[in-house]
C-alpha cells in the first residue's frame, strides 16, 4: 500500500543525496559551467509502500547541453522549459515531452538536448527499470557571479545542473501520456472489470504555497482505496494519471469500475520542488459533476534539480562580480540592502561607520560611477547609514566592475556599478511589504495587457518617527541629533514589441532630508538639507537588419538644497537630458562591431548665500566676513562616442579593443579626452581562464573645483591608467576562485594650492584581489574575499584626503608618495549564509587593517586667534587599530496559502567591538581619544510577499 511515511522519504532522500555527491565528484572537472550534480531525485510525494520500490535513482552518464536559441539570445530573452523525460531500463531516453512550454525555440532546444541524454538506469526493487522524470531547463543569459562560460556552441552554452524526477515504479511507468496539459485516464493498469468510458472525476489547480504561482508540469497520481471490515483502508498501487498544465490546471479521469460505496480515491499532486498535495475523495463526492480541488503545494527547500543553460556572458574579458538576488538581500550587516552587499567584495574598502562610501581600489568615492539601467545617478545610498536608493524588488542584477571596464562606461576613473532593474514579466499581481526599524517599503507588479507588464515600488524611512519616542525629554537641554528622512520610488512598464523588440519606460527617484531630534521639547532648531534626484527614461531595444540597437532617452532632475538658520543657504539644481545609443552587429564569425553615442545636456543652476571669510590678512570673524552671494546659471554638455570591436580568435582567445572620446563643456570651460582600452581573455580550459586589460580613464574634477570663484577653471581632467591581470579557476561545480592583480595610476588630481586647486596630485594603487566563492545553492552561499593592496598619493593629496586641511602646506608639489587616507593593506571578508527549511542564518566577519592616520606631535599656541595649531608628524605614517566586526542575520519564513511572511533580525557588530574610526584631540592636542564606530546594532524587520 502506498502511504506517506516520512521516515522512509528521508531515508530515500539521503541515498539520493549520496548519489548526487558521487556524480558531482565525477563531473565537476568536466564542465567549467557545471554547477550542480545531475543526479535524479525521486520526488517524495508519492512513495509507494507495498508496490515496487525505487531503489536507485537514474544518474546522468552523458550530458548534452542545449543550444541557446540564437534569436532569443539576441533579444536577451530567458526562459524555463519543463520537460517530462522517459528513461527505459537501459538508461536511454525514449522520449522527452514538453510539460511547460517557453515557446518553440526554447522547447525544441531543450527537447533536442534531452533526448540525447544517457543515464545509468533507475533500479526498482533492485532491478533496472523504466522511469519518468520531470526536468527543467533554465535558459539564462548570464550566470550569477561567475566568469563566463566556455560556449558549447556559437552563442550558447549549456550546463546540466540537476534533474528531478517523479518516479513511478513499475513496468508501465513510461507510458504516461506526455501531454502537459491534458487529463488522462488511469494509465497502464488494465481495467479490473469491464472498462467504462473515462469520466472526469476531479478538476483542480495546483499552486505554490506562499506565492500562488501555478505549478506547471506537476504529476498527478491517484490511489484507489477500499475500506476494510476492520475500518482500515486497503490501497491499490499509485497510478500516474497526468500532469498539470502551464496554469497549473489538471483533471483526473476515471475509466474503470465505478467506485463502490466503501471506496475512495486519493489524489496526489506534486513535483520535485514541492511537498505533495493530497486529498481523499469519497465515492459520494465523485458521483455527479466533477469535484473541484485547489492544491496548494508547499515549496521544498532544496529545489536544486534542474538544468541551467547559460549564454555567454557579455564582455567576458571584463573583471566583474555579479551578485544574485539572494546574495544581494541576505548578506548580514547590510540590512538586506543589495548595494551594500557590494561593500563585501574584494577591491572595495571598508566604509567607516557603515556609511555608504564606495572606495574602489583606493579611488575616491566620487571616482566610482553608479549606473541604473545605463543612466548614471548622483547617489547610491541614502544619507548616513541609510539604504541604497533602489529597493531590492526592482533589481535584477548588480554588476560590479572594480576597474578595467568597457568603453561603454565613461566619465569615471575608478570603478563602476551597473544596476539592472527587473524587467517585469509578471502574468499576475505580485507584491510585498517590508517593515523594519529604519523604513517601510512596498512593491507590486502585474500584467497590464497582453504584452505589457508594470511594476512599482515605494519606500519611506520611519526612523525619524521612531527615534523621538526613545529620546528622553529634558527641557533646556542642548542635546540634538539628526536622523535621516528618506524616500524613494521606482516604476517600470515593459512592453514587448514585434520583431523581438522591447520597450521599457522606467522612472525612479530618491530624496533625502534631515530631521533634528532634540531632548528639549521646546527646541525650535531647524536644519533643512535636501538632496534628491529623479529620472524618467525610455529604453528601446530592437533588432534591426542584423543590428542590435538600444536607445536610451532620459530626463533627469537633481537638487541639493541646504538651509541652516537664517543666513546660510545653498541650492544646486539641474535638469538634464541624456541620450545613449548603442549599436552592435557581427561583421564576421570572429569579429563584432559595437559603437555608441553617449551624450548629456544639462541645465544647471546654483545659488549660494552664506558667510564667507574674506581673503585678506586680518582676522576675519563672522561678523566681518563677506557673504557668498553667488549665482550660476549654466548649460553644460558632455557628448561622447565609443567604438569597440570584440574579436574571437580561435576557440581560446577573445580580444576587445575599444576607444572612447569625451568632450566636456562644463562651467564655461572645455576639456576633451581620448580613452583607448584593451581587454583580453584566454580560456585555457573549461575550468581555467586568464584575463588581462589595460586602458585610460578620464573624468572631470568635482565641478565646484572648476568654479572661478571657489576653485580653479584651469584644472585638467583627472585621469588614470589601469592595468589588471587575473585568473579564474573553477574547482568544483559550485566553488570557484578568482585572483586579480591590479595597478592603477592616477594623474592630475586636484591638490589644494594658492590657486585654490592645481592639477598636480598623483596617486597609485596596486594589489591583489582574491575571491573564493561558493555559488548559491539550495542551502548555502558564501565567499571569502581578501584584498592585499596599497594606495598611495603624493603628499599634498594625502593631507587633503585626510583631516589636515588645517595645518597643511599648500602648493605641496612633492612627488613623494605616502599612504592615502583610503589605504587598507589587508581586507578580509568572510560571508556565509545557510538555509534550512524555513530558517536562514548568515554571518559576515570583517578583519581590516586600520586606516592611516597622521600623528600629532605637539601644538603651539597662536596668540592672535587664541587657540592651538597642531604640529603634525609624517602624513599618514601611523594606523588606527585593526577593524574587526562580526554581523549576524537570522530570518524565519512562514508560508500561507496566498502569501508568505518573514521576520528577520540583522545584528551588526554582534560582539560590540570598539573599533576606532577617528581620533579626537583636546584643545591643545595633548590628549586624544578614539571615536568608536557603530556599537551593536540590531535591526528587526518584517516582510510580507504575495
Amino acid at each position: 500500500l502506498l502511504s506517506l511515511k516520512r521516515g522512509r522519504v528521508l531515508a530515500l532522500s539521503a541515498a539520493w543525496a549520496f548519489a548526487s555527491f558521487s556524480f558531482a565528484a565525477a563531473a565537476g572537472a568536466q564542465e567549467f559551467e557545471q554547477r550542480r550534480p545531475n543526479e535524479v531525485e525521486p520526488k517524495a510525494p508519492v512513495p509507494s509502500a507495498p508496490g515496487p520500490q525505487l531503489t536507485k535513482a537514474p544518474v546522468l552518464k552523458k550530458n548534452v547541453l542545449p543550444v541557446y536559441p540564437a534569436e532569443a539570445y539576441a533579444e536577451k530573452r530567458e526562459a524555463d522549459v519543463g520537460l517530462l523525460i522517459d528513461i527505459d531500463a537501459s538508461g536511454t531516453v525514449t522520449s522527452a515531452t514538453v510539460a511547460k512550454s517557453a515557446g518553440p525555440a526554447f522547447d525544441d532546444a531543450a527537447v533536442a538536448a534531452a533526448v540525447q541524454l544517457v543515464f545509468e538506469p533507475a533500479e526498482i526493487d533492485g532491478k533496472p527499470g523504466a522511469i519518468r522524470i520531470a526536468y527543467t531547463s533554465h535558459f539564462r543569459l548570464a550566470a550569477p557571479g561567475a566568469t563566463d562560460a566556455a560556449p558549447a556552441a556559437e552563442g550558447a552554452s549549456g550546463t546540466p545542473r540537476d534533474s528531478a524526477t517523479a518516479p513511478v515504479p513499475g513496468p508501465d511507468a513510461p507510458s504516461v501520456p506526455p501531454s502537459a496539459s491534458a487529463s488522462a485516464p488511469l494509465a497502464g493498469a488494465p481495467p479490473a472489470g469491464g472498462a467504462s468510458a473515462p469520466k472526469v472525476l476531479v478538476q483542480g489547480t495546483a499552486k505554490e504555497k506562499g506565492t500562488r504561482e501555478p505549478l506547471a508540469g506537476a504529476d498527478v497520481s491517484v490511489i484507489r482505496r477500499r475500506r476494510q471490515a476492520d475500518g482500515s483502508w486497503k490501497e491499490e498501487p499509485a497510478k500516474l494519471v497526468g500532469a498539470s498544465d502551464d496554469q497549473g490546471a489538471f483533471t483526473v479521469s476515471w475509466g474503470f469500475d465505478p467506485l463502490g460505496p466503501d471506496e475512495a480515491v486519493r489524489v496526489v499532486v506534486g513535483d520535485t520542488n514541492h511537498e505533495p498535495c493530497i486529498h481523499d475523495f469519497a465515492a459520494s463526492e465523485l458521483g455527479g459533476a466533477p469535484a473541484s480541488w485547489e492544491c496548494v503545494a508547499k515549496p521544498r527547500v532544496g529545489r536544486t534539480y534542474e538544468t541551467r543553460v547559460r549564454a555567454p556572458v557579455k564582455n567576458p574579458e571584463a573583471t566583474r562580480t555579479t551578485l544574485s538576488l539572494r546574495e544581494l538581500t541576505t548578506v548580514p550587516g547590510t540590512l538586506g540592502d543589495p548595494l551594500r552587499a557590494i561593500q563585501s567584495l574584494p577591491g572595495v574598502a571598508r566604509s567607516p561607520y557603515g556609511l555608504g562610501l564606495l572606495v574602489v581600489r583606493g579611488a575616491a568615492p566620487e571616482d566610482t560611477g553608479v549606473f541604473i539601467d545605463g543612466q548614471r545617478v548622483p547617489a547610491l545610498y541614502h544619507f548616513l547609514v541609510g539604504p541604497s536608493v533602489l529597493t531590492p524588488n526592482m533589481m535584477e542584477r548588480v554588476d560590479f566592475y572594480p576597474g578595467g571596464f568597457s568603453v561603454r562606461y565613461g566619465r569615471i576613473s575608478g570603478g563602476a556599478i551597473d544596476v539592472t532593474t527587473h524587467n517585469s514579466t509578471a502574468t499576475r499581481l505580485h507584491g510585498s511589504v517590508d517593515v523594519n526599524l529604519l523604513d517601510v517599503s512596498a512593491y507590486a507588479e502585474g500584467p497590464v495587457g497582453k504584452d505589457t507588464a508594470a511594476a512599482g515600488a515605494v519606500r519611506r524611512s520611519v526612523i525619524d518617527g521612531l527615534l523621538p519616542l526613545f529620546v528622553p525629554k529634558k527641557r533646556g537641554s542642548t542635546y540634538l541629533t539628526t536622523v535621516p528622512i528618506y524616500w524613494d520610488y521606482q516604476a517600470r512598464v515593459d512592453h514587448r514589441l514585434g520583431g523581438g523588440g522591447h520597450l521599457a519606460v522606467v522612472a525612479f527617484g530618491s530624496e533625502d532630508s534631515l530631521k533634528v531630534v532634540a531632548q528639549d521639547p521646546d527646541s525650535t532648531f531647524s536644519l533643512e538639507n535636501r538632496i534628491g534626484f529623479h529620472r524618467a527614461q525610455l529604453v528601446w531595444d530592437q533588432p534591426w537588419q542584423g543590428w542590435d540597437t538600444k536607445l536610451l532617452l532620459s530626463y533627469g532632475y537633481s537638487i541639493q538644497d541646504f538651509n541652516a538658520g537664517d543666513d546660510n543657504h545653498g541650492l544646486i539644481r539641474s535638469h538634464s537630458l541624456t541620450m545613449r545609443e548603442e549599436l552592435s552587429r557581427p561583421l564576421a564569425s570572429w569579429v563584432t562591431l559595437a559603437m555608441g553615442f553617449d551624450g548629456i545636456l544639462s541645465f544647471d543652476y546654483a545659488d549660494f548665500n552664506a558667510p564667507y571669510p574674506r581673503q585678506g590678512r586680518t582676522l576675519a570673524d563672522s561678523s566681518s566676513q563677506d557673504r557668498i552671494i553667488a549665482t550660476r546659471d549654466l548649460t553644460d554638455t558632455a557628448p561622447a562616442v565609443w567604438l569597440e570591436t570584440p574579436l574571437k580568435l580561435g576557440s581560446s582567445w577573445r580580444v576587445v579593443p575599444g576607444v572612447r572620446g569625451d568632450h566636456y563643456h562644463v562651467i564655461d570651460t572645455d576639456k576633451s579626452s581620448i580613452d583607448p582600452r584593451l581587454a583580453v581573455r584566454y580560456t585555457y580550459s573549461k575550468s581555467l581562464a586568464f584575463k588581462a586589460s589595460a586602458g585610460l580613464f578620464h573624468q572631470l574634477p568635482t565641478p565646484q573645483f572648476l568654479d572661478k570663484e571657489f576653485g580653479n577653471p584651469n584644472l585638467g581632467l583627472i585621469w588614470a591608467d589601469q592595468y589588471q591581470l587575473g585568473v579564474e579557476k573553477a574547482f568544483t561545480e559550485v566553488i570557484d576562485l578568482s585572483l586579480t592583480g591590479f595597478l592603477v595610476r592616477r594623474h592630475d588630481l586636484p591638490v589644494a594650492s594658492v590657486e585654490r586647486f592645481s592639477s598636480t596630485g598623483k596617486g597609485r594603487s596596486y594589489g591583489v584581489e582574491t575571491l573564493l566563492r561558493h555559488q548559491v545553492t539550495a542551502h548555502f552561499f558564501g565567499w571569502v574575499a581578501y584584498t592585499l593592496s596599497r594606495t598611495e598619493v603624493t603628499q599634498g593629496l594625502a593631507m587633503l584626503g585626510g583631516t589636515q586641511m588645517a595645518g597643511m602646506n599648500v602648493n605641496n608639489t612633492s612627488t613623494a608618495y605616502q599612504p592615502s587616507a583610503y589605504d587598507e593593506t589587508h581586507n578580509l571578508i568572510v560571508v556565509g549564509s545557510y538555509r534550512l527549511a524555513s530558517w536562514e542564518l548568515g554571518g559576515r566577519y570583517r578583519l581590516v587593517s586600520g586606516r592611516p592616520e597622521t600623528p600629532v606631535r605637539g601644538a603651539f599656541f597662536d596668540a592672535d586667534f587664541g587657540g592651538y595649531t597642531p604640529m603634525y608628524g609624517t602624513t599618514n605614517s601611523t594606523r588606527r587599530a585593526t577593524f574587526s566586526q562580526l554581523d549576524l542575520r537570522i530570518e524565519r519564513t512562514w508560508l500561507f496559502d496566498a502569501w508568505r511572511f518573514s521576520a528577520y533580525l540583522d545584528v551588526q557588530n554582534v560582539t560590540n567591538a570598539q573599533n576606532p574610526e577617528a581620533t579626537v584631540y583636546d584643545y591643545r592636542y595633548q590628549k586624544s581619544a578614539p571615536v568608536r564606530g557603530l556599537p551593536i546594532l540590531p535591526v528587526l524587520g518584517l516582510k510580507g510577499r504575495f
Partner: protein
Amino acid sequence: MRGGRAETKGAARGRRRRGLLVGFSFLGAVGASACTTFDDPSTVLDLRILAASIEPSEVIVDDVSTLPSLRLKPLVADHQGDVVAPQFSIVACPNQPFGPAPPADPMASGGFPAGGARGTLSSTLCPADPAAPHRWSLATAADVQDDGSVTLNLTPDQLQDALMSDLFRDQFGNLHGGFDLGLPINLEIDVTRGDGVTVKAVKRVLFWFPQLVPAIAGETPNQTPVISAVEQATGRNDDAVLENVSPFDENALPTVAPGGELWVRPSLATQEPYLTTVLDATTGQVLPYPVATETLRYSFFATSGKFSPSETSTDPGRGVRWNDGKPHLEAKYEAPDAAEVPVDPATGKPRLDVTVWIVVRDDRGGASWEERHLRVGEP
C-alpha cells in the same frame, strides 16, 4: 520664544551651532561617540601662554629707515598663577604663503585651502634650523625685562627679505603677497619655566606699505583694545540680565562657594573702524576693504574651576547676543566642587585662592588682559 525668555537670532544661532557640535549625525542616535571628557580650555592646569601683546601690532611703513621698535609681552601662567620672570626667546620669520593654514583659518575649515597666502590669519612656527634663511633671532632670555616684556627691532633688510619671500600667484595668474595684502611677520615665542618645561606660541605683527597700497595711506594703525573695567554678578536671569552687579577690580576678592558660580563681565573695548585689503575671488584683484566695526573676542581663564563659555565676543557667531541688541560679553565662573577645594588648616574650612584672567583680542593682532582674584570657600 520659550519660558518667557526671548531669543534673538544671534542667540538662536549660537544654540544651533552648539547643537551641530553635539550631534550632527544619525550616528549619534546609534551611539558612535568618543566617550572622553577633555580638560576645559579655560582651566589653567600647567604651563601655558594665554596671550601675547605687541605694541604696535600694526605698522604702516612710510619710511623703511625709521621702523619702530616692537614691545612684546606674553601672558605666561600655570596652575599657580603668573609665572614669575619666565625665560623666553623670540625668533622672527616672514609669512609663508605656501605654508600651513592654522585651524582658526575659516578658509581652511570651509574646505578652501589658503595656507599663508590669502588666509585671514596664518601665523606659524619659524624654521627650526637656526641656519635657515628668513629666520631671525630677535631676542634671548637675557633681553627679557623685569615686567616680562622684550623689545624687538626689525631691520629694513629683514623687512625687504620678508617682502620678497611672501609672493604668490592666484588662479588667474596675478601676483600677490605682502606688498598688497599686508606683510605679516611671525614671532615665535619659546617660554621655558625653571623646571625646563617649554611651551611655544606665535604672534604676528602686520606691516603695510602705503607706497604699494595707496589706499592704506593715512590710516591709523591698530590700537590695542583695553578692558577698562570688570564687573561681577551673582547670577543672570532668564532675560539675560545680570543680578547683583558690582565692580570686580584688582583689589576685590569675591568668595564663591564650592560648586557655586560667579558671573564676570569685562567692559567693551573700543571697536575701531579700519581699512584693509582683500583679494576679490572672482577677478583676482586686490581691493580696499573697509570694516566698520572691529570684532573683539574675550577669553576667560582660571587656575581652578572653569568659565562657561570660555570665550565671548562682539561677534554673534561666537558670543551670545540677546534681544536687547547688545552683545553679552559675560561668562560664568563655575567653582570647583567641595571635594576639589583644600581645607584651610587655620580655619578648618575649604579655601582656595583662584587667579582669573580675561584677555581681549581684536582683528589685527591687538591684545591685552586683566588679572583678578577670587576665593572659593565659605562666605
